[in-house]
């Protein structure tokens, strides 16, 4: 069940939210777990079985890890459990292609987030950042909470378990949550789905013939579509969670228009990137390792982040390019470099590296890069002008929407009356946006992620 489907928005979510309000505080966690179980069960009973297994497995892993006294031994144990989780995810996502029986039962919903959550939990237990959870219900809720199950946002077990005990749920939080959910829905349904056809059009062309302009348009479209999809789902997840009292971290801080690669690295999919950095790069930072080793670890970390999106060589290359360019930037670029210069080279790197994100194979990506530098002896042709003409407005509006300009416009306005008016009309605007999103998904009933990742 997609968040961006009529079934979820108009049936599951409002009913779940309404029923939740009638439950006494003491039983709210159990009730939320019940709702999440129903959610998993609706995806498929086979899927529910899979998530239950993951919960049981990591419950046992956590207790076992905590019981190993000796630190090196504990680390080895934890590493084995982490490997087991990663293997389960890889088998799960690739096993779909192996057997028809598996394909009919398994649904690849939130596997990446669940695995990363599990790995992070084992790691935290091993490093004594959190105690191993004794109450399996709490751990089950961490993995299965339906508001963050499909696409996050990721949250560490420590801060999640604190919220399990004391969290307030007021109508203000619900309102904020619904607002965030609708914003996320709009990002996905209005923006991502409007730009996707541009990328799709370029992708259907023969890569050995496309013009440079088409190639740049396609890749730019993909970057925006990717950002709006991921950030849309994260916002939906965070918004829904807030309705049930959870505060989850913000995932994106306007990464599409970053000034500098390091700034991009800090604002892209923040909880996920932080989690990986914490596990891979940070331990070295505290040690006395040389700068070269630290930088190598940073780059490797980004490579693994790439693999996390989808287990393909080209995504590893994407991560390596992002990581490497951030490292190079630290040494090469003068701190006082003009903002505009940084903005331009960062955008170029993001758009060029995206070729590895969407390229199914390495040879496709390389051909595509060759086309981007005009290697097909074709700078611009009829197709590219047609696409430019059709999508120029969509691209401009999307780029504007992917920046913080609009938010700042509201926040920085000094006049109180303006803010009050904005607040007063906001419920109406939000409802209107919801209606537009509903209209856009009305024909098929849902709008799935078309990018083939996660």
């Amino acid at each position: 069940m997609e968040f961006s489907s009529l079934l979820f928005i108009y049936a599951f979510f409002p009913i779940a939210l309404l029923l939740y309000q009638f439950i006494p505080k003491a039983h709210r966690n159990s009730f939320l777990l019940l709702e999440s179980t129903v959610f998993c069960g609706l995806i498929g009973a086979g899927y529910l079985l899979f998530t239950t297994l993951i919960v049981l497995m990591n419950y046992i892993f956590g207790i076992l890890t905590a019981n190993v006294r000796n630190k090196p031994c504990r680390r080895i144990t934890a590493a084995a459990f982490i490997a087991a989780n990663a293997a389960a995810a890889i088998i799960f996502t690739n096993g779909m292609h192996v057997s028809d029986l598996l394909r009919s039962v398994l649904r690849p919903v939130g596997v990446c987030f669940m695995t990363l959550g599990a790995i992070g939990y084992i790691y935290d237990v091993c490093e004594k950042k959190v105690a191993a959870e004794k109450n399996i219900m709490n751990l089950a809720l961490y993995f299965m909470l339906f508001t963050k199950l499909p696409m996050g946002p990721l949250i560490g077990y420590g801060s999640f378990s604190r919220q399990l005990i004391g969290r307030c749920s007021s109508i203000e939080r619900i309102g904020e949550g619904i607002e965030l959910f609708i914003i996320g829905l709009a990002k996905k349904v209005i923006f991502a789905d409007s730009i996707y056809p541009l990328f799709f059009a370029v992708n259907t062309l023969d890569v050995k013939q496309i013009s440079a302009l088409s190639a740049w348009l396609g890749s730019t479209g993909y970057v925006l579509c990717l950002y709006f999809t991921l950030s849309g789902y994260s916002d939906m997840g965070a918004g829904l969670s807030r309705c049930f009292g959870f505060t989850l971290p913000r995932s994106f801080r306007y990464p599409c228009v970053s000034i500098g690669m390091n700034s991009f690295c800090r604002s892209w999919h923040i909880p996920v990137v932080r989690r990986f950095e914490e596990m891979i790069a940070s331990p070295l930072h505290r040690s006395r390792a040389s700068n070269a080793v630290k930088n190598a670890a940073f780059i490797a970390c980004w490579g693994i982040i790439g693999l996390w999106y989808s287990f393909r060589a080209s995504l590893f290359v994407w991560g390596i390019i992002i990581g490497t360019s951030a490292v190079i930037e630290r040494y090469l670029v003068d701190r006082k470099a003009l903002k505009a210069t940084s903005l331009i080279y960062t955008s170029v790197i993001i758009i060029v590296s995206a070729v590895f994100f969407f390229g199914g194979t390495m040879s496709y990506s390389l051909h595509y890069l060759f086309a981007m530098i005009g290697g097909n002896n074709n700078i611009a042709d009829g197709v590219s002008f047609y696409l430019l003409k059709s999508y120029a407005l969509v691209l401009l509006i999307s780029i504007y929407a992917s920046t913080d300009l609009f938010r700042n416009l509201i926040l920085r306005s000094k006049k109180r009356t303006f803010k009050n008016i904005a607040d007063a009309v906001s419920p109406i605007i939000m409802t209107a946006i919801l209606m537009i999103c509903t209209a856009l998904i009305s024909s098929s009933g849902s709008s799935g992620s078309m990018l083939g990742i996660l």
Binding site: L7, P14, L17, A45, R173, I174, G382, A424, P427, G445
Partner: protein, 376 residues
């Protein structure tokens, strides 16, 4: 102010969603959609298998979607948004200046099983087999599409299909005829299919190959039955900015009479049928004017005594084509293989017919058609 804002939004959201849900669940539900001309999803039924693999949720999702309160208005709004954002395309339908064109009507399907079944049929058949694959409006008016969508895929698909057919099958090239005549009203503006005039143009060639001389155009009296026909491309896009189409009946008044016209279902029961069923005018599916209700088999007997019998195996494209053939045969049997659920040999002996014509739109040719049943 913040409290007002959040409370208002929460209340509005819950009231809106739950009201819509209640209306959706409890309103009176039709089984077909007029505008979209398709059967709507029915109430899902529970089965253990569907619960295990989650199909039941998907079915319930389709049920909610199809019967969603205000669906037709929402679709209109979607159309207005989509046509103004990005390309002039709604739901895969490209809106050119004077017609709708499908941008993705050729699905990536295998046709091997189809051609194999036709070849087996012709190998076991004593008479002659003729085969015609028809392009859609996209194949003929492809140059109206943006360059990158004008791929010539239909021509390629027809060519490769013809290449896969056995030597005994006589192929008739309809594509070139239609392409050459594309200044005329040979395809509907709001549908992928050809018009009666398009069918007449191809009939002239086909009937010569079948061994007759065609009836001249000016011998026909043409009746414009309706000017309000909007076909499958309208159903997909809900776009009304293109002029509606005309449905014509070609009548040859001095020609032979239809003596009987009977339709048969899989059980073999016969019903009276008509070549032109005007009761469909004004319904959601006006194209059924030609040959009436969709049926497995139609047997047409004419007043001719030439003992010529023809078997036509076809899809909807042939519906406006069959009436032209009636002027040349004493008996025509029309089979729709997509309606076939049991072996054809139970219905009739194909060798009673000395000629068989396969007539399909290329968009409908795929292995899903169950053509194997023709040979059993």
């Amino acid at each position: 102010m913040k409290r007002f804002k959040t409370t208002a939004l929460t209340v509005m959201f819950l009231v809106l969603t739950l009201t819509v849900l209640v209306i959706t669940l409890f309103r009176e539900k039709g089984s077909i959609s007029y505008q979209e001309n398709r059967v709507l999803a029915g109430r899902p039924s529970f089965s253990v298998e569907a619960a295990v693999n989650g199909d039941i949720t998907r079915d319930f999702g389709s049920y909610i979607t199809d019967h969603f309160a205000g669906r037709s208005y929402l679709l209109k709004l979607k159309g207005v948004i989509e046509i103004n954002v990005g390309e002039r395309m709604i739901n895969g339908v490209y809106i050119s200046s004077d017609r709708l064109l499908s941008a993705n009507n050729l699905k990536n399907v295998s046709t091997e099983g189809f051609t194999e079944a036709v070849n087996t049929f012709s190998d076991n058949y004593e008479g002659t087999v003729y085969f015609t694959a028809l392009p859609t409006s996209t194949g003929v008016y492809g140059e109206m599409l943006p360059e990158y969508l004008n791929t010539g895929a239909e021509k390629q698909r027809i060519d490769s299909l013809y290449g896969d057919l056995g030597d005994k099958v006589r192929r008739i090239d309809a594509y070139s005829i239609l392409k050459m005549l594309n200044d005329n009203y040979i395809f509907y503006r709001n549908d992928t299919k050809w018009t009666s005039y398009g069918a007449y143009c191809v009939y002239r060639t086909v009937i010569q190959k079948l061994g007759f001389s065609p009836i001249a155009y000016d011998r026909f009296t043409i009746e414009h039955v309706t000017g309000d026909f909007r076909g499958n491309l309208y159903n997909r896009s809900q776009y009304t900015g293109i002029k509606a189409d005309m449905l014509d009946i070609y009548e040859y008044r001095r020609g032979t009479e239809i003596v009987s016209c009977k339709s048969y279902d899989n059980s073999g029961a016969a019903h009276d049928a008509k070549l032109y069923d005007k009761s469909f005018i004004g319904t959601n599916d006006m194209y059924r004017l030609y040959l009436g209700e969709k049926t497995l088999m139609l047997r047409i007997n004419t007043g001719l005594n030439n003992d010529k019998k023809l078997l036509v195996i076809k899809d909807d494209y042939a519906n406006c084509f069959v009436p032209f053939l009636t002027q040349h045969y004493s008996e025509i049997c029309v089979i729709s293989p997509d309606m076939l659920t049991s072996d054809l040999s139970k219905l009739l002996n194909v060798n009673e017919y000395e000629q068989t014509l396969f007539l399909f739109g290329i968009e409908n040719i795929s292995d899903e058609l169950n053509m194997q049943l023709l040979n059993r």
